[in-house]
């Protein structure tokens, strides 16, 4: 059995829970038999650091606990890097994807193969806004596809388009593609 565990870090309102769900859906379409996506609910409010989880597996998944040793960590908001060690428990050879304009080589993280992309920049350019604030969850899915190869960009775009209809869906799918193109570990 091959199981991949993903931990999402963001702030309340940034759409981390939706990212976790959309990744699970994309992974299922890409042929993984077992998928799970679940949030960790503390006493959330908009802006507070939040966590969500995705598990994907080549077989049915039985385990139902939280994820302590992720294979991949996705960070929607780089300001969280100053607050918590997002790489805690990251497996040997694990990957960390951060939404930041900085280059991966400039980030000082405790462990992991680091990838970065400027999701906020893409969101502002394409108008991916909720209540006037940039939302980077769909761009992160594109970056995720690039950094891990676990799901295909086309599949990610497909689940985005089925989640949001019309122009909003198209803009988000375009955001995922741009993130896919610029995401880099350099």
């Amino acid at each position: 059995m091959t199981m991949i565990e993903v931990r999402w870090h963001g702030r309340g309102g940034q759409g981390g829970v939706t990212s976790a769900e959309l990744l699970a859906k994309a992974a299922f379409l890409d042929g993984y038999k077992g998928v799970q996506a679940f949030p960790f609910f503390g006493s959330e409010r908009r802006g507070a650091p939040v966590k969500a989880f995705t598990r994907v597996s080549t077989e049915e998944i039985n385990v139902r606990s939280q994820i302590y040793e992720p294979d991949v960590v996705a960070v929607l908001d780089s300001s969280i890097l100053d607050l918590i060690d997002v790489t805690e428990g990251l497996k040997e050879g694990g990957k960390v994807i951060v939404n930041t304009p900085s280059k991966a080589s400039k980030l000082q993280l405790n462990r992991g193969h680091v990838y970065t992309y400027d999701g906020t920049g893409i969101a502002l350019k394409l108008g991916l806004l909720v209540a006037g604030l940039p939302v980077v969850n769909t761009t992160m899915l594109g970056a995720f596809a690039r950094a891990t190869g676990l799901v295909k960009l086309e599949t990610v775009q497909q689940v985005i388009l089925s989640k949001w209809s019309g122009k909003a869906g198209e803009r988000n799918a375009e955001g995922a593609r741009e993130a896919f193109d610029i995401c880099s570990d350099l």
Binding site: D30, G31, S65
Partner: protein
């Protein structure tokens, strides 16, 4: 149990791509969606064509009510949706509607279920089939929105059938089956379909949905045994004092025992339309097991992963995953566990001051008559949503092994808590 995967293997493999292509041909015939446990239950309720849904939203059950209200607002269901000011009223409205012959459902959790308490007994005492979906949540105080089983375990003597689900698929399937079980004339009892709050209620996974007409044909139209009808007035639930109350309760108990048979019949029919079945309990690698872990709901899934890992290390361990807690399948479980040396119970409920906790009490009773009684350990885990990682189950297993060597175990103990 989760080995690191080298980065080189992370690429979507050729086999995976091939599997996707072949699965696409079958996709048109089956309908698979990514749904939370709550959403899966809402979809099942919609397909069961219920006449009345009366509910009050409470975390973590809220999505069920929200989704169903949306089906109603969009004209997708003909159900009479009754928003009420409390759970006491929610169940009361269900009782009235069910007595009038309607197919009815409600949903609750935690404090909401506690507020229903008085009326739960009315539903069962009046022999009214009502489906109550519970997203199990801890009871206050302190306030906690997360999962344990204190709410529905507290209602274990209320005369409701209780079925606990391990996956969103099972939650969907069980909701559909529950109407057919509850409405069966040998049963005529209300039924709880329980899922672990947040762990399942808010977890998105793939759920295979049956076509509407298949569900409709499977459950049919409710055939009430007796109907409250203004044109032919009758009185139901009048005073029964010392003369007949006891007989009514005797009959209720007999009806509960019928559930074993009816559950199996309904499920074998369900298997024909879905290819899926669960059993009143499930055994997992229990053959030749010295120690059998016994639990239900989400910890049972984690325990399966633990059993696999321990088996790889040569440990003789298995799992009995309970589905039906009310009625409790004591005779069958007694036989099933008779050859084990020890049974390790894991439960998310603490019964303050009791000899042991609700699940272990039942298991010990079920085993008491066995000629070679296995040792029973009782581990209270995960109260208030405290996570139950595989390590907690392994700790309980190791403790049970030590107690087995000593030949003596405490009545119960807590795991995964600061002491």
């Amino acid at each position: 149990m989760n080995v690191p995967i080298p980065a080189s293997k992370w690429r979507v493999s050729d086999e995976m791509t091939a599997a996707t292509k072949s699965s696409k041909t079958t996709e048109s015939s089956s309908n698979i969606e990514g749904l939370t446990g709550d959403a899966a239950i809402a979809r099942a309720l919609k397909q069961c064509d219920i006449d009345v849904l009366s509910a009050y939203p409470i975390t973590p059950q809220t999505i069920i009510v929200e989704d169903y209200q949306r089906f109603f607002a969009d004209g997708e269901v003909k159900t009479k949706v009754i928003p009420v000011e409390s759970e006491h009223s929610a169940m009361s409205a269900c009782i009235g509607a069910s007595a009038a012959g309607a197919r009815v459902a409600t949903t609750s959790a935690s404090a909401g279920l506690a507020l229903m308490w008085e009326v739960l007994y009315c539903a069962s005492g009046l022999r009214l089939p009502i489906v109550l979906a519970v997203a199990n949540r801890a009871l206050s105080a302190p306030i906690n929105i997360h999962n344990d089983w204190s709410d529905s375990y507290g209602a274990r003597d209320s005369g409701f059938i209780q079925m606990y689900c391990q996956s969103c698929q099972e939650a969907y399937d069980t909701t559909i089956m529950s109407f057919k079980i509850a409405e069966n004339h040998s049963v005529l009892l209300p039924a709880m379909v329980c899922i672990d709050g947040f762990i399942l209620s808010h977890n998105v996974e793939h759920v295979e949905l049956l076509p509407d007409e298949v569900v409709r044909d499977f459950i049919g139209i409710r055939d009430p045994a007796q109907v409250l009808d203004p044109d032919k007035p009758i009185t139901i639930g009048p005073i029964c004092f010392t003369d007949y109350y006891f007989e009514v309760k005797e009959q209720q108990d007999r009806a509960m025992k019928e559930v074993f048979r009816v559950y199996k019949e309904v499920e074998s029919e369900f298997e024909k339309i879905s290819g899926r079945s669960y059993g009143i309990y499930e055994t997992y690698r229990t053959k030749d097991a010295d120690i059998v872990l016994l639990t239900h709901s989400s910890p049972a899934g984690t325990a399966k992963a633990v059993v696999d890992a321990l088996r790889d290390r040569g440990e003789r361990v298995g799992l009995l995953r309970l589905k039906l807690f009310r009625p409790f399948p004591a005779a069958e479980i007694g036989k099933e566990l008779a050859s084990a040396k020890a049974v390790a119970v894991f439960e998310k409920c603490l019964s303050f001051g009791a000899a042991a906790n609700p699940l272990a009490l039942e298991v010990r009773t079920a085993l008491y008559e066995q000629p070679k009684r296995p040792l029973v350990t009782d581990f209270v885990i995960g109260l208030g949503g405290r996570d139950v990682p595989p390590t907690v189950i392994v700790e309980g297993y190791n403790k049970t092994k030590q107690y087995l060597e000593k030949g003596k175990a405490p009545f119960y103990e807590t795991l995964g808590v600061r002491k």
